[in-house]
């Protein structure tokens, strides 16, 4: 049969950001595919070497657009480890609230993302409308809706505004009350199920081969490998939550894990708001004005659990005002770049957007 070359994205409702997938298909079966990450988010790691430790907070959130807070957290943790800074107790809880809100927002976006490839736009509208409410909360806390630049080395930039807890509780209660509706609309919906059940498989062997972490790994190997549990950062050791797992990774189970995590995140935020102590929210990183802050010589790998898996920053300091080298482990790098090339062939063209959505691919993480 004649092979045909198709471009999936960047302008495509099922495509994420500015990435595109070049597909060679025979009939409607993909025979060969590779990712073109868009080349818009290039040079971030190099750019970080040219910014001071503090200035970098303007750049690092851009490594993942929809969930920028994990970048800020991993970078801040790395600098704190290098400079041996004790972060104030309250700041830990503030950071957790932000990180979990971000997790909810990206899970909603990803779940809504099912709407594009399946033609169920209602799901996308609803998910995005609820995500928008999180962005409103972010705007009130941080001053921005998307690039928050809130978690900084030493703590957070400012304390929570007065009364924001009410907004968060109100939103969480609403989301919880609508949770079954979301399930009914999406993964309990027979029309959607037909597309995602027993489809787009991620076998355990592939997880080990590529180094997939996060939802993909937990859905395939039946092990609760979650950095918040196995290597707790901030104060995740102080809050109770479950890590949902499956031993069979089809698209449906991966989405189900995301929805379960959403419930867990709601619980974590409530516990944080309850346990949060009062006190300072930021410790000083260096001496003098921020452009002359230096970080002691050394190297460090700091990682956090993003919605797509282990997200890490490898930072080298030569004792100066700028990082000597920063390397980012994008959580979606294994499945996004290698997986698409090796394991997307064999799926149908119309399942390709679902493949990308349920595997969790974020192109700037690959580009960086």
């Amino acid at each position: 049969m004649r092979q045909m070359k198709l471009f999936l994205g960047p302008q495509h409702p099922g495509m994420h950001g500015n990435a595109s997938v070049h597909i060679y298909a025979e009939g409607d079966i993909i025979k060969r595919s590779y990712l073109l990450p868009g080349m818009l988010h290039r040079g971030f790691e190099k750019g970080m070497e040219r910014h001071t430790w503090m200035n970098n907070i303007g750049l690092i959130p851009r490594v993942c657009v929809v969930e920028p807070d994990i970048n800020e957290m991993a970078f801040a943790m790395g600098v704190e480890m290098l400079a041996n800074i004790e972060v104030p107790e309250r700041a830990h809880y503030l950071r957790m609230v932000i990180l979990e809100l971000a997790r909810i927002s990206i899970h909603l976006m990803s779940y809504g993302g099912l709407g594009g490839p399946t033609g169920l736009y209602t799901l996308m509208y609803h998910a995005h409308a609820d995500r928008n409410r999180i962005l409103n909360i972010f705007e009130k806390i941080t001053g921005h809706r998307v690039y928050h630049m809130y978690i900084v080395p030493g703590g957070v930039r400012k304390d929570f505004p007065v009364g924001i807890e009410n907004d968060i509780h109100e939103f969480l209660n609403d989301l919880e009350s609508r949770y079954t509706e979301y399930r009914d609309l999406g993964i309990e919906n027979p029309t959607v199920l037909a597309r995602i059940k027993d489809n787009i498989m991620l076998p355990e062997s592939v997880v080990w081969e590529l180094g997939v972490t996060g939802v993909g790994m937990r859905s395939a190997v039946n092990k609760p490998y979650d950095l918040r549990k196995v290597k707790p950062y901030a104060r995740y050791s102080e809050v109770e939550f479950d890590v949902p797992v499956y031993d069979y990774s089809d698209a449906r189970n991966r989405v189900d894990i995301k929805l379960n995590e959403l419930v867990q995140s709601i619980g974590i935020i409530r516990q944080c708001l309850e346990k949060m102590p009062t006190g300072p929210v930021r410790a000083k990183v260096g001496n003098g004005q921020s452009m002359r802050w230096t970080v002691p010589k050394g190297q460090v790998y700091s990682c956090v659990e993003s919605s797509r898996g282990e997200f890490g920053y490898y930072i080298v300091s030569d004792g100066g005002t700028h990082p000597y080298r920063v390397g980012v482990r994008g959580a979606s790098y294994p499945q996004g770049l290698l997986g698409i090339e090796k394991y997307m062939p064999g799926t149908r063209i119309d399942d390709a957007p679902l493949w990308i959505d349920t595997m969790g691919v974020c192109s700037p993480e690959i580009d960086r």
């Binding site: 200035n55 009130k140 690039y147 919906n189 004005q289």
Partner: protein, 660 residues
Amino acid sequence: MKKVNSIFTPWRLLKYLFKKPITIPFTKIFTQKNANYLNQNSIIKLNSRLDSEPREGADNIRGFHTNDWEECIGCGTCADICPTEAIFMAERLELPNEDGKLQQRPTIDYGRCCFCALCVDTCTTDSLKMSKEYIYSNSDPDAFLFMPTDTFEGQKVKEGYVKDEVSDLLDLKRVENPHELPEERKSSFVEIVRGYSKEFARLEAARCVECGVCTSACPVHMHIPQYIKAIWEDDIDGALRQVYETNPLPGVCGRVCTHNCETSCAIAVRGEAIAIRWLKRYIIDSAPDDMYENIILEPVSDVIDAKVAIVGSGPAGLGAAYYLRVMGYKVDVYEELSLAGGVMRYGIPAYRLPDTAIDKDINFIKHIGVNIKTNTRVGRDITMDQLEQDYDAVFLGTGFMKPRGLNIPGADHNRVVGAMEFLPKVREFERGNLSLEDIDVAENVVVIGGGDVAFDVARSATRLQMLKYGKSSVKLTSLENEDSLPATFDEYVEGAEEGVEFFCGNGPQEVVVENGKILGLKLWKCLCIFDEKGGFNPEFDKECEQIIEGEQIFIAIGQAPDYDYIPESIKDKISINRGKIEASIDGQVKDVPWLFVGGDILRGPDLIGGVSDGHRSAKAIDAYLYENAKKQDISDSLKAMREAVKESSPELTIRQGGKK
């Protein structure tokens, strides 16, 4: 019971059709102005439902900037920190040119700005803030580059993101410089300020934002940000080089300068100024002698055959001598007393400025070839006419070294002493040239005056009393109130710590003398010091009279010049106004072109001002001598000789090229 999923289950979401949408209508996000613009350009079609009230951002939102130009000092820290290099400082020469402010304001390219608000967090003055405005549309790309003012698009806007103590990126607190404790220091002349250690100096240097506001406020325009940066980088070599570019007396200025730089420091707007003076002292204290050899001797050349005489080895004289010597002239400095340094050596007490610091600076000036002839008074040991004959130019920097008297009854008593009679003796005592018995200081003394010199007298007297009697009793009285004393605030604080009693706001009326002994000083309350025209004309309240006890009175109400050494033939050609010689801004006397003046006798007492006069005059003397040399070259033979010199000495060619 297991839930049965049917394709009809999702249909229950139809109920949302009848609920109010939570999304914001497209038409509602625009301001009226933007909406009109978009309508006109057919970018969007807005119908009559257009709502002129746009959605307001959160209280904390990082919207477009506002900048209060009155508060802004143009320091440019916002431009330095900007991670996207969206901010640059644009020159606005219509702004007033005053100390502590630069004539520039931030301009922001909103094509680059990422609204991170680091500029707001690091603003030295709090003038830069962010508003709640977040929508701006225009088809002209250049319209996205503008200077924020306190309005946005000509309208008052609501405040959005502002910094607080937590988000502030500056360090407003000064690193403490250890001082000797009052109880310990008041019985010796040990230097009070111990000086920064390397660690502390670097911590203090790390606070500087390199704005350069200080440079424009400094009379000699020292390269302050550069040498502070060098300290922070632990590069004493570089720092020393920067310091000597503009100031040949850094060891002295690092201790007793009036530090206009710190007064105008950008950090001082909200916090404590960078300790620029102590940092300069740190450079000199930590620079070994051989470091001077390596870096500063390089530019000294010896190709111009002209000689300059400097009269007086104070800050102005030494400043002129150093720069003239660096330019290659032969320089002789004439000093009346046995040690060079003038007021530095014989006025300021050792607890503020020890001899070792002066020696370090002067030794280096001598080392580069300045010839200092001490114990040689012009007018006595050598005449001005002789100087005119022997030298191509003469610079006078003789200062105000004579005490100024007070015309009140009893002031002619022999225990009424002028500050400039007393202070040189104190310095000689510190050097071991005089014994304690040689200096007359009573158990109870009164000091008249409110300036730094009055404090020098009062605190020196305290020390002598402690050494002589084991206790101290010094009273200081001045016309000015305590909050408007001309002395620096440090002097007042340290004086109070050492037990000086203050009777400020009073004018001396009579030295009360009985049986040839001073009993005290009669004071009247001072109502005002200056009259309506601004002239010195104090008014007193006779009703408020008090007599403060004391057996000895020191008068420190200012100093006067001594022009005895200038012969009448020259005095006829110069005019002296209130003790100062009238001259051009460079110090050149109009009718005596070979004569230059500087320092106290040109501009009044100020140490760093003297250095700056010396520097300025050195340049003027250089220009004058060069002009003279050109005139002499008119004859052909000389021209030919000069050509020969040019060929043999490439450095001379370069210098001449520079002059044109």
